[in-house]
């Protein structure tokens, strides 16, 4: 009886680790580029990244939002190294929070700041992928101690 064809948890964890590592890279670049009054460089030119980095929305309580991104991606990276329910749920909750925050930041970019920063979009895409991966992991493997997906169990 196979209801859904879930990827193995080991594979999900590998992909999560890879995408989270990319996320750490992107968020770190934004943080470093922004520190010292600079701004990330938009690859296709244009001042989108500069406008976004200089807007009031780029910092929360004086902390660059990308720093929160780094923390989130590191947590997600960490959860990929453990195959237990705590890691599954923590990964899901972190990715969900990050995804919700990315939705909000994208809204701000489009409707408030009226500028798009490619690096922020890249981070939002990575966080969306991580949310989907972690949701798949939680639904497929919550409560299990083996690496077999629940729907595949007889």
């Amino acid at each position: 009886m196979i209801a859904m064809n879930f990827p193995t948890e080991a594979r999900l964890r590998r992909v999560i680790a890879f995408v989270a590592a990319l996320g750490v890279g992107v968020a770190t670049y934004i943080t470093i580029a922004d520190s010292g009054g600079g701004a990330p460089t938009c690859l296709a030119g244009g001042g989108g990244c500069e406008t976004v980095a200089n807007s009031s929305y780029s910092h929360i309580a004086g902390v660059n939002v990308a720093v929160f991104g780094i923390i989130g991606y590191i947590v997600l990276l960490g959860t990929a190294f453990f195959a237990n329910d705590l890691a599954r749920f923590l990964g899901f909750a972190t990715a969900l929070g990050g995804f919700g925050f990315s939705v909000y930041l994208t809204y701000l970019e489009i409707f408030k700041i009226e500028a798009i920063c490619q690096w922020c979009v890249a981070s939002a895409v990575l966080m969306t992928i991580l949310f989907l991966l972690n949701a798949t992991r939680l639904i497929g493997y919550a409560g299990t101690t083996t690496t077999a997906a629940v729907p595949e169990q007889p």
């Binding site: 009031s56 329910d85 749920f89 899901f92």
Partner: protein, 255 residues
């Protein structure tokens, strides 16, 4: 002996079954928590967006718009205090305005640029801004801030940039932070001096004086225009013309 073995076997089975039930319960609980978290995040994002959308009062000190547009508008035009254009221009067009007034904002964006780019730039007329503070308590400090910027030759940049970033009337946006942000955006060089000037009696008294002057002239709303030139009978009141062409014709008539 065999009884003991059977008992152990049964116990193992029971433990296995119990752990299976535990695992199922844990899974259900985790998925319920997950669904709850999804719900909470959706609610949080919606609240954030709604709160942000409803705080659309403008006057965002952190995100001033059109700084370069305003700068370009006045490039190459002389100005002293709040007088824009050639000081020797024969015609004087006076705007009595309130920086918090939305109609004045519309004037500054759609009406005045045509006159500034045309007859003011050509030296036919000079444009004078006088505060007529009628909107609310933040109007007078804003007017004084413009006068203080005028002392450093950036008065018209200040007025125009304020208008382009104006918030909702009396929503409290025109606070010290906003006034300072506009001063910086308008290119006021010595912010400390501007800060001292705008709070000094010289400019706050001037705001009161021009407001009283506008009332004496019989104006009741902003913006109100008046014109003075070689062909006018002293100061002539134009009220609030509806098209820049009307003002252009008045300037021609007055010169």
């Amino acid at each position: 002996m065999s009884n003991k073995r059977e008992r152990e076997k049964r116990r193992e089975q029971r433990v296995q079954e119990e752990s299976k039930v535990d695992s199922g319960e844990r899974r259900t609980r985790l998925l319920q928590f997950g669904a709850g978290a999804v719900f909470l995040v959706i609610v949080a994002v919606v609240i954030l967006i709604v709160v942000n959308g409803s705080s659309e009062n403008g006057g965002d000190a952190q995100n001033l718009k059109e700084v370069s547009t305003v700068d370009q508008l006045f490039t190459g035009i002389p100005q002293k205090e709040l007088v824009l254009g050639d000081p020797k221009a024969k015609v004087e067009l006076i705007e009595y305005g309130d920086l918090q007034c939305p109609v004045c904002k519309a004037y500054s964006e759609d009406f005045l640029p045509q006159i500034i780019e045309g007859q003011v730039k050509e030296g036919k007329a000079k444009l004078v801004f006088r505060n007529f503070t009628i909107i609310g308590p933040q109007s007078a400090p804003a007017g004084a801030a413009a006068l203080a910027a005028g002392a450093q030759g950036r008065g018209w940049e200040y007025i125009e940039l304020f208008y382009r970033n104006q918030g909702t009337e009396n929503s409290g946006y025109a606070d010290d932070e906003f006034l300072t942000a506009v001063a910086k955006g308008a290119g006021v060089k010595d912010i400390a001096q501007w800060e001292t000037d705008r709070k000094g009696t010289k400019y706050t008294d001037q705001v009161t004086a021009t407001t009283e002057e506008a009332q004496r002239l019989g104006f009741t709303g902003t913006p109100s225009l008046a014109i003075k030139g070689p062909s006018t009978n002293g100061l002539e009141l134009l009220g609030t013309p509806s098209a820049p062409e009307e003002v252009e014709a008045e300037i021609e008539k007055a010169s």
